[in-house]
């Protein structure tokens, strides 16, 4: 019984692969291009992952390894396999659920697209890669799946590759991700060189035994985290995610709200126990800075998807920050809740775009509440969750994170107080821009009457996922106490592990043990809750004042703070900065290489060709003059001698007798 169940994760991993292959090779022959098969397979996968979670709850953690490859020379053989523990079980459900709902939603959203079959096969490929990433217990194999996820996202972002913007966006996503992956790989190599293994369990054992420590340990931790910076769009590699909105909206929901970007958070959670104090400091500050920058940009954006994209970056910053301050379980919890309500937000945005016939600018929308009620209510529910309003799941997770930051600041003091300050500030900004979005889209008066008239509610294939996801944003799924998640099943299951480096100190960070930390958390819990509620309420109020009651003239305000407004609207000019520095540098180098290739290499080749042609001309002349001359000379000589000696053949016997006599005379003299 045990053994067969242990193979279930493998089955879960392979079902999306099967969907990908089936649709890729046979999709054109299947009715409706096989989309219903894909949808069914994914829902089966979801059911199986729920079952796995159930088994895990009964039996606890288990893993399954096989021998992978062998570099020879003794004990350098590597294993591959998967592990089911609390992190991976939860992620299985999250990935499969969001993927299944996106499959269903896309039936209507992508209807009539020319590359419909390819879309579903790519979705299967992506799901397979993501599942592989969360299941594996081997950091090298995780890197392999990491890259596969990157490839799938490239294919899906650039899905409408006939237009130039998606091509550029896909390239940007892949390249920026790659930059992060360089750091990730160097980190893997450091671990391998010092610890000699890729298996997580062995790595942690090695670190606990002190084989890797000090500066190298911090460096390894930071480098591994670089991968997360790239994949989870943290500062400074966050520039790809807004551009990735060029892909279809369901793709944005799947990849850029819920799953792929969560991979970075997942990785950081996995390696949490071996991050040193300084590495954790780095992680925390990156997360906080990211959250702040993207929140400031989100308040001025006018594209519905761009607002949600920056909101995603900001929330990812929250999760990273949570792991950094030592509350890994809260970070993961926020990941789960965020996955559901952010996917819901993206899918409602998709529904709005579908209803408005592919307009994405919110300045053209308004008053859609009456026309698309289901969409409106689900959007409202998800927004409340995102802002951290009580009775939602988002409230539970966000609140815990803010409490953790307060505890962190209490422990370390000094400059670390900036972390909770930023955290609360971002919470306020989040509430403001989300409600701005809601008001401008659904409330008020319609701005574009023509589109408004044509707008209808979306079909059920699109609204059912919306309803389900918004229900999942309700608090009850995660805890029966609306104000604290500690007694809920998820927090019971997912406890922050004791760091391997408890007791160590970094420059500003002191890793304390779990007991002390939990104490501080309890103390900080209620202050954080009230503070966050206050800040969120302020944000919502401001949004209503600006946009609904229109007490303040937004446009004149914008004029007064034009420089700051522009700075925010233009995304803090990150793209321009990168373009002027790194990209210009790289282009310069490539131009130099092209010049070298053209002038020098080609010049050498041409020079060689010219020399060869001279040589061959000279050789030809030599052949003509000298060789032919010799041949002609010898021919002439032969002819000449022939002419001379021909005279001997006179045909007259008398001449022959003469010669005969001559011969006799000669012979006489020879033999006398």
């Amino acid at each position: 019984m045990d053994n067969t169940l242990h193979y279930l994760p493998l089955v879960i991993l392979l079902i999306p692969m099967f969907s990908f292959l089936l649709l890729a090779f046979f999709g054109n022959q299947l009715p409706r291009k096989g989309d219903f098969i894909a949808v069914t397979l994914l829902f089966i996968n979801l059911a199986l992952s729920l079952f796995v979670m159930f088994v895990f709850a009964q039996t606890g953690k288990y893993s399954f390894t096989v021998d992978w490859f062998d570099l020879g020379k003794g004990n350098t053989s590597f294993t591959a396999g998967f592990v089911i523990d609390e992190l991976s079980a939860i992620m299985l459900i999250v990935v499969n659920a969001i993927s299944a709902f996106v499959h269903l939603f896309s039936v209507k959203y992508m209807e009539g697209d020319a590359k419909y079959k390819k879309y579903y096969s790519y979705l299967g490929l992506f799901t397979f890669s993501m599942l592989g990433l969360v299941l594996t217990n081997n950091i090298l194999l995780m890197y392999v799946f990491w890259e596969l996820v990157g490839v799938s996202s490239y294919l899906l972002i650039g899905f409408w590759y006939e237009k130039p913007a998606p091509q550029e966006a896909a390239k940007k996503a892949f390249i920026v991700n790659r930059i992060g992956d360089v750091g990730f790989f160097i980190g893997i190599m450091i671990i391998f060189l010092t610890l000699g293994t890729f298996n997580f369990t062995d790595i942690f054992a090695g670190v606990a035994a002190g084989q890797l420590q000090g500066g190298m340990l911090t460096a390894a931790g930071i480098l591994l985290f670089c991968g997360a910076i790239g994949k989870s769009a943290q500062f400074p590699l966050h520039v790809w995610l807004p551009d990735a909105m060029e892909g279809p909206t369901p793709v944005s929901a799947l990849i850029h709200a819920a799953t792929m970007v969560a991979a970075g958070v997942y990785l950081t959670a996995r390696i949490f126990v071996m991050l040193s104090a300084d590495a954790l400091t780095f992680v925390t500050f990156i997360g906080a800075i990211t959250a702040f920058i993207s929140a400031t940009i989100a308040i001025t954006q006018n594209d519905i998807k761009k607002v949600l994209a920056y909101s995603t970056i900001s929330q990812l910053g929250y999760m990273i920050m949570a792991i950094g301050v030592g509350a890994m379980s809260f970070g993961m919890f926020h990941l789960v809740t965020h996955a559901f309500f952010k996917a819901c937000l993206f899918l409602t945005a998709g529904s709005v775009i579908y209803g408005m016939h592919h307009i994405q600018d919110i300045r053209e929308m308004g008053g859609l509440r009456k026309k698309m009620p289901v969409t409106y209510y689900t959007f409202l529910m998800a927004t409340l969750a995102l802002c951290g309003i009580p009775l939602t799941s988002g409230f539970l997770s966000k609140d815990s994170i803010l409490a953790a930051t307060l505890a962190f600041a209490h422990i370390n003091g000094g400059i670390t107080y900036i972390i909770p300050v930023l955290g609360f500030l971002v919470a306020g900004l989040t509430a403001f821009y989300m409600f701005r979005l809601l008001i401008l889209t659904f409330l008020g008066e319609p701005k574009n009457m023509e589109k408004y008239d044509h707008c209808r509610e979306s079909p059920f294939q699109m609204t059912i996922p919306l309803i389900v996801l918004s229900v999942l944003s309700f608090f009850a799924f995660f805890s029966f106490n609306p104000f604290s998640a500690d007694s809920g099943w998820i927090m019971q299951m997912m406890k922050t592990p004791e760091s391997l480096l408890t007791g160590t100190r970094g420059i500003i960070y002191h890793i304390v043990d779990r007991e002390e930390y939990t104490e501080l958390l309890h103390h900080a819990h209620y202050p954080a809750m009230f503070l966050s509620l206050g800040v969120a309420g302020l944000g919502i109020l401001t949004a209503f004042v600006f946009y609904f009651w229109k007490k303040v003239n937004v446009d004149s305000l914008t004029e007064k703070i034009k420089p700051i407004y522009n700075f925010s609207l233009n995304k803090w000019y990150f793209d321009e900065f990168y373009s002027a520095t790194f990209i210009a540098f790289t282009m310069g180098i490539s131009r130099l290489s092209a010049w070298i290739d053209n002038k020098i290499v080609d010049g050498a080749v041409n020079g060689a060709a010219t020399v060869t042609s001279w040589t061959s001309t000279a050789s030809g002349k030599f052949d003509n003059i000298v060789v032919d001359g010799l041949v002609n000379l010898s021919g002439g000589l032969v002819g000449f001698f022939g002419l001379v000696f021909r005279k001997f053949q006179t045909g007259k016997i008398q001449t022959y007798i003469l010669f005969l006599v001559f011969g006799i005379i000669v012979l006489y003299f020879l033999f006398r």
Binding site: G651, K652, I653, Q654, T655, I657, L658, V661
Partner: protein, 102 residues
């Protein structure tokens, strides 16, 4: 001076040379035949002289007879050929009978 063997031999040698000269430098076929006869006669003189002065007894003269016989038959046939040549080319100059030459 006593006539010895060598005198006759010298005579025959001179005759041989003259005959050879006639053979190789005359154009008329009949004259060439005459040269051949001279040569044969020189050989005959040689043989007879040897038979007289040398120790070969009568053998020298026997051989001479046979040489004469052969010379006769050869001259007969040669003349037949010359007549044929004359009928074909209407000349007996050996260097004008040259249709085999290029």
């Amino acid at each position: 001076m006593e006539i010895g063997l060598q005198h006759y031999l010298i005579i025959s040698a001179i005759l041989f040379g003259i005959g050879l000269f006639a053979l190789i430098s005359r154009k008329n076929a009949i004259l060439i035949l005459m040269g051949i006869e001279l040569i044969l006669n020189a050989a005959n003189i040689n043989l007879v002289a040897f038979s007289h002065f040398g120790g070969i007894g009568i053998d020298g003269q026997m051989i001479t007879i046979f040489v004469i016989i052969l010379a006769v038959s050869e001259a007969a046939i040669a003349l037949a050929i010359v007549l044929n040549l004359y009928n074909h080319f209407s000349t007996v100059n050996v260097d004008e009978a040259n249709t085999m030459k290029d």
